[in-house]
């Protein structure tokens, strides 16, 4: 079966349809390369705007997910979901900061222990709160006490809750969820 991307005629057809003001390049199932070629050949401003909007809307969910990871709740804020944005910021920030104040263990990126790697992934999932851990935990971890051990779970829980928020923001941005 022939790939439409290899067919110069498909590119011509896509360009011709976008000249007419349509969004054929995206809807016909041709690849991004074809879209770029079609965009370059578009002369009418409204058609060019429509095609640009389609390409931007395809990358927007990923950008929302990245911002939601880095700053908990910010993805929902961009999507105008105020309550969820506030809820995730409070929940993730609260869990992480309380965990640090309990002197929980913050896992470093380089670990030979598989559990250490999993711990790092969970901790780093809380985004900016992982980066500011040293601000709240100046004395370092103390897992010899029960509260230090609980703090480790609080910090990991913050990352896991933030990942749930990232997935939710991604789904909302894609239009699969309200």
């Amino acid at each position: 079966m022939q790939d439409p991307n290899d067919n110069p005629k498909a590119v011509e057809v896509a360009s011709a349809h976008t000249d007419l003001g349509g969004e054929c390049a995206a809807t016909a199932g041709v690849s991004e390369i074809v879209q770029e070629q079609a965009l370059a050949s578009v002369s009418h401003p409204s058609a060019k705007h429509a095609l640009t909007s389609r390409i931007v809307s395809a990358t927007m969910p990923a950008m929302i997910a990245i911002t939601a990871w880095f700053l908990p709740g910010f993805g929902h804020l961009l999507l105008r979901r105020w309550q969820r944005a506030l809820a995730f910021f409070v929940a993730v920030g609260g869990l992480a900061v309380v965990g640090y104040l309990m002197r929980g263990n913050v896992f470093a990126p380089h670990s030979e222990d598989p559990f250490g790697t999993l711990g790092f992934l969970a901790d780093a999932s809380s985004g900016i709160f992982y980066l500011v851990a040293h601000v709240f935990e100046k004395s370092g971890p103390d897992v010899a006490r029960a509260m230090g051990d609980y703090g480790t779970r609080f910090i990991a829980g913050a990352g896991i809750i933030n990942m749930m928020g990232v997935c939710d923001a991604f789904q909302v941005a894609r239009g699969h969820k309200h």
Binding site: Q83, R84, A87, A91, V92, L101, M102, M147, Y150, G157
Partner: protein
């Protein structure tokens, strides 16, 4: 720091409250339903934790 010397029960209350807020905002769409769900989740967190603690009590010594 006060948080470093928390007892187990207050630590559990904080954990349950924060997790309940996140789950409530995800699981329900209206403000009223979210508040109800947050309260329900929080109460269930505490109730199940205390129940499991009592179930484990005979094996603790």
């Amino acid at each position: 720091m006060a948080f470093a010397h928390l007892h187990h029960f207050p630590a559990m209350l904080i954990f349950a409250a924060l997790i309940s807020i996140a789950l409530g905002s995800l699981a329900r769409r209206t403000t009223k339903r979210r508040i109800e769900y947050v309260l329900w989740t929080f109460v269930m967190f505490i109730a199940v934790s205390v129940a499991v603690a009592w179930l484990m009590y005979p094996f603790s010594r």
